[in-house]
Assembly symmetry: C2
Homo-oligomer: 171 residues x 2
DNA sequence: CGCCAAGGCTGCGAAATCCGCAAGCATCGG
DNA sequence: CCGATGCTTGCGGATTTCGCAGCCTTGGCG
């Protein structure tokens, strides 16, 4: 359940520039390719080609382009609990002033895995991953609340992760 | 050749059985391997071996085991906005009665990408991915609220995704 | 209409990688 | 001492990756 990137075409985190529709959405064939790779990120190009009706080389080119454009990443994802992290939480943030600058500050924290600007009673929703309660307390109480513009926060500590998929575009 | 789609290591979603620490957390070397694959899910075993100080065969065995145990998955991840989904939201759910049964019902919905049981003012947090406003409305107002045990919900529509990483275990 | 450039696809060898397997070691625990 | 486990080295064959040379279609343009 989680993953990330590398070297040449690595996109460590995606901000507006990348996720902005830098172009039109992928066509049906590329979607099909993505779907294949969502099932198994290491599936051979030839197998994908057979499944979507394209040659191996064509699949290779399209995958490379999708990677370069930042439309998708092929990465290993894990369940944080199985790799030693004991505390996770979703934090809702109330902001006064510029929301985006606060979002940027939170984005810079390594403990924040997920930062999104929202409409509703919270201005920001942030998912954080910590090693233990002390760590969690430190991040929420000291670091996040210290960011200029943060008026208040509300935390939702994870008790159990029930579902986490990566099947976008599949339906 | 690939009629074995079903097979071995597909873990479309993980529930308690899988994510429960089925064993001790991976050792330092396996963590290092995961880290490599978080950078590039297609990196060759030999390259990984060189990076973590193991032979190609050993890396192969460990990766296979990590996959089989469900500790990690290697998959393609995309930004929903770039593949045609226009509306995303985080929904906080207040439950009366058994929280887990509600969580299971939500988990069964394909629009729910992420379902987690939490402590705090919400009993559940659910991330939803939809094609447009109508779709979103339908899911929240009709489907989710129709689940027995759901007392009320609060929605946070996504305005902008600022960060999304997959670097667990890396820090 | 004719020409040309660009983009996407196919088909190929060549190189690299994957994969199973066997033999040899070292460690750990009963 | 024995058995289980995990790693290494080595090996060959199957598979996959990769670069490149065509080919074809599309779109711009005189």
């Amino acid at each position: 359940m989680h993953s990330d990137v590398v070297a040449s075409r690595s996109a460590e985190h995606r901000d507006s520039r990348e996720s902005r529709n830098g172009g039109s959405p992928p066509d049906a064939v590329s979607l099909a390719i993505i779907e294949q790779l969502q099932e198994d990120g290491r599936r051979p190009y030839a197998a994908i080609g057979k499944a979507v009706g394209l040659s191996e080389a064509a699949v290779r080119q399209r995958v490379q382009k999708l990677l370069d454009q930042g439309v998708m990443q092929i990465v290993a994802v894990t369940d944080p609990l199985t790799v030693g992290f004991r505390r996770q939480a979703m934090v809702g943030v109330h902001v006064e002033g510029d929301v985006e600058s606060v979002a940027d500050a939170l984005t810079a924290m390594s403990e924040c895995e997920y930062v999104v600007m929202t409409a509703g009673s919270f201005d920001l929703m942030v998912e954080i991953v910590c090693e233990d309660d002390d760590h969690l307390l430190d991040v929420i109480n000291r670091r996040i609340r210290a960011v200029p513009g943060v008026r208040s926060t509300e935390s939702f500590v994870y008790l159990k992760l029930k579902k986490q998929t990566y099947m976008w575009g599949t339906r």
